[in-house]
Amino acid sequence: MARFIGRRLLLSLITIWLLVTIVFFITYVLPNDVGRTILGPFAPQETVDALNQRLGTDRPIIVQYLDTLTRVVTLNFGDSYVNGKPVLPQLFDAMVRSAKLAGLALLLTIPIAIAAGVYAARRRDRRADRGIVLLGVTSSSIPEFVTGTVLVVVVGVQLKLLPVIATTPPSASIPTQIAALLMPATAMAIVYFGYIARMTRAGTIEVLQSDYTRTAAMKGLTPNQVMRKHVLRNALIPTVAVIAVQVGYLFGGIIAVEKIFTYNGMGQTMLFAAQNKDLPMLTAGVILVGIVYMLATLAADMTMAWMNPRIRLDSER
């Protein structure tokens, strides 16, 4: 296990270097310079030049790239080009907000989707199964920003049941925060329900047809015991992998939902940084999201290895 984790960490470092390099060069080739983007189109050119000089964005590209790498290695991402404040505290705040939203969305999705998938698998080809599959396909086909908009209009504006702005003051109580996050979390849960439910269904069907499941049933175990002890831990392995990928996406990719609900998570923060050529913020943000992805997949791999010891043994051979 230690060798497994060590190898993954080494790969992670290479991944981070690749991320930083790609982000740097993509930002560099975009038109408009940093000073002009920050100060706007009406600022005098002298002011723009002075700002570029202060930020160091007028230096040769290779110098800027090496400077960026140095900052990453020393974990000193510096200050935002846009607001002049240290980058990491701002990103951690955004990360916390994204974590809350992601956590609530997963809390809503996972139990329901897994239960639905197992339920459908046990009633394969019957009406309940077909209904759940259809529901899953439909829900995952509708983009979350469409669902979000419908929820805002119906639940937020017309019925006024929940707030339309997901952002709450820092001092807000937990129930208030949950109420504010319920709509965006539901919008995402509806989409992810489809993926997770269908993956669970497929995995459960495969395991239900396996020899060891039949053996367990013939040994005299009740159906519930068979499900709990033999089926679920094998059927959910692919589902765990899907969830891991979704976790990473939830942290950095739900820009549309964040925009609709005026919620500044990592997605909005990095979009703003990209639009304003705020390279320190963008670089640090991409690295953080990359770390989230890597941790999520590492956790998924370890979970799968725990669920199925053969996976662990194969990797250590």
């Binding site: 975009l30 038109p31 408009n32 310079d33 002009r36 983007t37 920050i38 100060l39 706007g40 189109p41 009406f42 600022a43 005098p44 050119q45 002298e46 002011t47 846009v82 607001n83 002049g84 701002q90 705040d93 955004a94 907000r97 805002v152 209009v153 937020g156 504006v157 006024k160 707030p163 339309v164 702005i165 952002t167 003051p169 820092p170 925009k259 609709i260 609900f261 005026t262 500044n264 909005q268 923060t269 703003f272 639009q275 304003n276």
Partner: protein
């Protein structure tokens, strides 16, 4: 005509003020134009009222809506008066929740965005502020009165006394001088070339004299809300300091410590020591948004009570909402369709005129703004300016004339790319212009791109740097915000080698007319200069300007007394909950 009343004012008026009084008395200025002009020149509310009464056919009391400093009376600001009257008829206490564009920067000197203007102006104040009357009339802010010398090259500002900064220290003339020096050093676009370094001097703790580079009859506007960076900051406020790092100000609202968060919003609490008295509300809670659509949704979901600015397309439901107090103030907000005058297909002015003759302006106004806009006449002198000359004929759609102009220019099957940025109604404007131009045989291909790249790629590329904007596209649309005077539009966008002159317009006649306008300090001289400017621009048509559109803001009818400028600043000192 009551000459006694008139003489009371004439005796104490300086030459520029006298000129304005005489112009009004002789009927060369409308009542509204007189009030606006007199306000700029520092004539007091009492004096304005006396002149109005003197020239009125019936005896009437001085106008309660006139605003201005000057004379021998120290008039309270309109905001404070409104606060007092509002407090008498409405509940006190409570907070208002406001939707505002997310600020990019709250550095008073360097800020360039409407969100920053709106936030900073809650705590910090201007020498000359906006009155609730309209989007043009300025009144006393931190300056109680201001007076020009004979030719308007030196302006003396008498400061309001007993004003304190939020930390309790006294506000003095040294703060004003330091602010002006900081702005001049930073190259503030409004003061550049107008106020030289060292031009501001404190003659005593309550008086500042500003000696200009050349006479300028509109100078008070350049130290007003319409030059958003000229909020007065403490003497010790170093360049680069931001409001959230060092909260400061003399205004009615104090930034709540720790409340400013770029991601979420900011809160302000009442300043109990404000010179204007006790505000009816306890505080303001701002939520930051990146688009107007979510602002409107937040209002409909009852999570905000007021919106500082929105557009017709996103806010249609608000315009129709009977419970929404809509502010639809005529403003100088506009779009310019620039056409390269130095090269390309539009170098011949007949071709430019031809395109302008295809504009169906009333249709554009109706389709894009539901009528909430005024006609533009291909020049930048908005009809709300006191020196606007309405005698210049209004250009209307004339397809036959457009065709004949093209024929005379020897142009057939004109095809051009119309560049536009992705902003509010501009892409729709481009599409409508395309269909209108097609009637005259002009084929426009519309190319819309993100604002992130548009300004630098099409409107004013950094290279070639000399002359500025010489790399601009042949044809495109650019947006301009509201200004209390047209100086910025004329200087930057149209003057030869102007920093925003994307049409590369180079007309000695126009430059001379603009120079006359800048130097003009008498009403008649300003109107005469504007007549020339309007006529020249209409003839040369370096830009098409089909409309000036209204500034839209508003609040729930559960609040009253909220008003806004056309530059994102919102005023809540007189706002109260309706009892």
């Amino acid at each position: 005509m009551d000459y006694d009343k008139l003489d009371q004012v004439r005796r104490t008026a300086v030459p520029l003020q006298l000129d304005t009084i005489e112009a009004f008395a002789a009927g060369r200025l409308s009542r509204r134009e007189f009030i606006q002009r007199a306000s700029i020149l520092g004539l007091g509310a009492t004096s304005i009222g006396l002149v109005l009464a003197a020239c009125s056919s019936t005896t009437s009391s001085p106008s309660a809506s006139a605003a201005g400093g000057g004379g021998t009376s120290a008039a309270p600001s309109a905001a404070a008066s409104a606060a007092a009257s509002a407090a008498a008829s409405a509940a006190t206490g409570g907070r208002i929740r406001v939707a505002i564009q997310r600020p990019v920067s709250v550095d008073p000197v360097a800020m360039q965005d409407l969100g920053g203007y709106g936030i900073v102006s809650q705590s910090m104040e201007f020498l000359c502020t906006l009155t609730p009357k309209d989007l043009v009339t300025i009144g006393p802010g931190l300056a109680l009165t201001w007076t020009p010398n004979a030719d308007g090259s030196v302006w003396t500002f008498n400061l309001r006394q007993n004003v304190k900064w939020h930390d309790g220290t006294p506000f003095t003339a040294d703060d004003v001088v330091a602010t002006m020096e900081r702005l001049v050093a930073a190259g503030n676009s409004g003061l550049k070339g107008v106020l030289p370094a060292g031009g501001a001097k404190a003659t005593d703790p309550n008086t500042v004299t500003m000696t200009l580079a050349s006479p300028n009859g509109n100078f008070p506007y350049l130290v007003s809300v319409f030059n958003a960076q000229t909020v007065i900051t403490p003497k010790a406020y170093a360049a680069g300091t931001t409001l959230d790092k060092v909260p400061a100000g003399t205004g009615a609202w104090k930034l709540t410590p720790g409340s400013y968060n770029t991601q979420t919003g900011a809160s302000f609490d009442r300043n109990p020591d404000w010179w204007g008295g006790t505000t009816p509300l306890d505080g303001i809670d701002f939520t930051f948004f990146d688009a107007t659509g979510p602002m409107v949704t937040a209002y409909q979901g009852q999570q905000v009570d007021a919106i500082v600015q929105f557009d017709v397309l996103s806010g249609k439901s608000l315009i129709d909402d009977p419970n929404f107090n809509l502010i639809a103030a005529p403003a100088a907000l506009h779009r310019q369709i620039w056409m390269r005058t130095d090269k390309g297909q539009f170098a011949d002015k007949r071709v430019r005129q031809a395109l302008a003759y295809t504009f169906d302006r009333p249709a554009l106004i109706q389709q894009l703004f539901q009528g909430k806009a005024q006609l533009g006449n291909d020049h930048v002198i908005w009809e709300g300016y006191p020196y606007f000359d309405s005698s210049v004929p209004q250009r209307t759609q004339d397809i036959a004339k457009a065709k004949s102009l093209l024929t005379a220019a020897g142009v057939t099957n004109l095809t051009a790319t119309l560049h536009a940025g992705q902003l509010l109604e501009i892409p729709d404007l481009a599409t409508l212009l395309k269909s209108q131009a097609a009637q005259a045989g002009i084929n426009l291909n519309v190319a819309v791109e993100s604002l992130q790249t548009y300004y630098g790629a099409q409107w004013c590329p950094a290279q070639p740097a000399d002359p500025p904007c010489s790399g601009a596209a042949e044809l495109g649309i650019v947006d301009y915000g509201h200004r209390g005077t047209p100086d910025v539009y004329l200087n930057a966008a149209l003057k030869s080698k102007g920093i925003w002159n994307s049409s590369q317009y180079n007309s000695p006649d126009f430059d001379a007319a603009f120079s006359s306008f800048q130097k003009a300090v008498g009403v008649d001289a300003q109107k005469a200069a504007c007549n020339k400017i309007e006529t020249i621009l209409l003839e040369d048509t370096p830009i098409g300007l089909p409309y000036f559109y209204n500034y839209l803001a508003g609040s729930s009818k559960t609040f009253s007394g909220f008003y806004a400028s056309g530059l994102g600043q919102a005023f809540f000192s007189a706002t109260s909950k309706v009892a």
